[in-house]
Symmetry: C2
Subunit: 538 residues, 2 copies
Amino acid sequence: MAAATPQPTSRTRSWWGWGWADAHPDDAQCAAMGALLPGTLSRPLPVPRVRDLGIGRPALEPPASLAGLVASDPADRAAHAMGKAYRDVVRALRGRPGRIPDLVARPADEQDVADLLHWAGDRQVAVVPYGGGSSVTGGVEYRGDAHRAVLSLDLTAMGRVLEVDAEGRAARIQAGTLGPSLEDQLRPHGLTLRHFPQSFEFSTLGGWLATRAGGHYATGRTHIDDFVQAMRVVTPAGTSASWRLPASGAGPSPDRLFLGSEGALGVITEAWVRLRERPRHKSSAAVAFADFHAALRAVRALAQSDLSPANCRLLDAGEAALSGAARDGCAVLVLGFESADEPVAARLERAVGLARSYGGRYEGTDGSGGAAAGAPDGGAAVSAWRSAFLRMPYLRDGLARMGAVAETFETAATWDRIPGLIDAVRTEVGAAALKATGHPATVNCRLTHVYPDGAAPYFTVLAAGRAGDEVALWDDLKAVAGEVLHRHRATITHHHAVGRDHRPGYDRQRPEPFALALRAAKGALDPRGILNPGVLVD
Amino acid sequence: MAAATPQPTSRTRSWWGWGWADAHPDDAQCAAMGALLPGTLSRPLPVPRVRDLGIGRPALEPPASLAGLVASDPADRAAHAMGKAYRDVVRALRGRPGRIPDLVARPADEQDVADLLHWAGDRQVAVVPYGGGSSVTGGVEYRGDAHRAVLSLDLTAMGRVLEVDAEGRAARIQAGTLGPSLEDQLRPHGLTLRHFPQSFEFSTLGGWLATRAGGHYATGRTHIDDFVQAMRVVTPAGTSASWRLPASGAGPSPDRLFLGSEGALGVITEAWVRLRERPRHKSSAAVAFADFHAALRAVRALAQSDLSPANCRLLDAGEAALSGAARDGCAVLVLGFESADEPVAARLERAVGLARSYGGRYEGTDGSGGAAAGAPDGGAAVSAWRSAFLRMPYLRDGLARMGAVAETFETAATWDRIPGLIDAVRTEVGAAALKATGHPATVNCRLTHVYPDGAAPYFTVLAAGRAGDEVALWDDLKAVAGEVLHRHRATITHHHAVGRDHRPGYDRQRPEPFALALRAAKGALDPRGILNPGVLVD
């Protein structure tokens, strides 16, 4: 089949902050947000400029045979220096970004990737695979000085849906395909991947696979892992190509070794992924809970039922207020059902009934009104949550410009640990922020994904900063959070990946024999240690 | 919690054939079965006796500190020499079993396992992990002569459910727990793993995990993999213990490396597994199809719907006749729904309606009668299939005693390949059997598991043998089958595992860079190469 023209856009990406440059809050909006947080700056830090970074010549030039794939202008290099974590944004605002890569390569096909790796291996050049650049864990930057030069390997020129198997509902898609383009190219076939992480606009299929991204579905198949039918991965030791199979029991899964390998074992170039028909039936509702712990029990019951809601996100009172879903101190459960196959209203009704049996107050279905006193109607609550969900990273950057701390982190744990874990994170991170800044901090929580055996809490921290020292302050708070997670045996990441920022927590969590196996695999596939150095293994 | 007494039994296991010794068909029954297959023997081969094997003294004695864990009597050693493939049964019948292990160890806990591995590593003793011994792919025997002695590591003394988390529906279970004992120990808690492979009575949790066993559910979460919350694995390089997590995105999954590792990377000692409430609602039905290809389309539509049948097994006409589900030349689709949560009758009704829209003829629901002319009613068809399913391995051994070839193999492929694959296996394996024996062979097919993107066909081959040369004959037929699978890019195994018998197909299917990584991991975890030598890597 002929593929559509991939990924056209006329808008400009911000080199230093989230998303589109034209979508950032302006100075006045930043100041207004800052005014809500005592202890922040009185005026926003200026938007940083690439020319102030004093970027010099690259340490190395590519050979003529690869020159056509490689850029070395300062703007491109600056835009590929870091991901989009709060600490990355602050480093840009403070004029102290991570190590600027020497070169940015944009391979057009798999052979280009292999050629670039071959050259990089010969010259001891570090290769940092780069999709949409939306890492919030330091996954796409270089730290250290063990390499002669740093090459950012930007896959977005490989952005096509190459084949569609309509009968088997699968497609072969290049790794550099950004979310919106991927869905645009599938739409004419009536199919959808339905993988909508918060970073959807600015992340790629390859990035999702390399980081085991969490997506649209709040229950069941929450991670991209389960949607992979086959993968191609270029390693310095050769190209790995697994077969298209609906399932297999032939040894440990090859794909599962590369899923989550974060560019350290190879460069994912394409995958066959499992698709769905576009849903024809959708229904959503909001349920308010005065008692957060009762809401947790309700969500557990939902996760253990056969109802399989596509959306089942529980916002605590602070998070509900922040997103505009509720302002009366209630927690809000956002429920959604969808199907291409059959009406979902009966499932929604059963789910709402179950939630009410735990003390939930039904706030009306999407668009149907039926508001209870003191809270917006369900439709408005659901919409408010959705729009805040997509807008949040921009607001975070605006707060960063005001010298505030504004960041998120996420985890997962079994149900027996969830209430204590959430309480401990709120208490201990809040106390640490107060102690460090002298101002009370906001620590909100929502459950983004729920399982029969546990849940994935997602925390938002809003606090006054420490002018000029925001990165160290955040690192301290994150270390406190990491300790709480470790004590509660909660994973260091449910879907944000390990990157470089989560290495200490990951190293403690990972079973040591598995670390031995992973190091050995790294040594076999990347014997010169050029692939995303510092990620997963040293 | 206190665990129940594990795995009591008063029946005797067959050392040479499937299951219970007292459940084998007698000589007259064998002869009656053989009479249905032209070219077989006129009387059954005698039941083999251990004393005829001339088993000598073990090559090595264990040290005094481990002697209490280790047996070396001929009966125990013979019973641990092989798995239960057709070729294993024939080797026993012909008095040429695989290499008899020198010792059989039964560790009582994880420390015993570590101690045994330590001793074996020092003495260059091969260790073959052994659960229920039901491997049908040569997974639990030793081949070659590179080791000083062979130790069969029988885990069945570790057969307890150690902890139950009722709130989070999970349990910590020792790897040597056999299927029935596992369910017996969970029953008082109202919970069930619902993992019912055909080998259920004679296989263990550890075996299921090591081989990525396929289980009860015909759709959705078909493999044991998805039910694993955490695992403990003893390797010569240390013990791997993953955290109990409902989900995680922290690097490649440690558990997924050990799932399917078939004892080559470590010895699985226990796992936390995800459970379900025992179903309160069940409903099943049979639908007959005159046209097998129309039935395939119906099954694909069911797999792509939101209906999630627990059972969705399509028997072709030959398989339906063999199991007694139908005798009119029709294919039969056995459908089943179950839930602890809500009635399932409406889902069954929709599924049957969908099947009818592809030309299916509704045969009545389980127990409700409603038979159509020319076929048994649905309830009888479903029961016939279930009882034949469990009885089949015994009948296979009876046929083996008649010198017949009676064996199965299974695979999985995407839907676009399914019709051609099934036709090619039938034609080419049938032709090879005819050529080799001079008698027409039966090659039946059923789909055991179905997916939105493909299906798992399971083939039964019944043919005259070649007296005294049955193993070579079967190996030839299996090689023909392997070529067909490879040509159709169908996996060498969907859930029977690789073992030693599937190595050639596995080696061709496995991506070479993954093989490099796996060999490196093996070298790191088992540097002396004592663990199940010859499995997965050399």
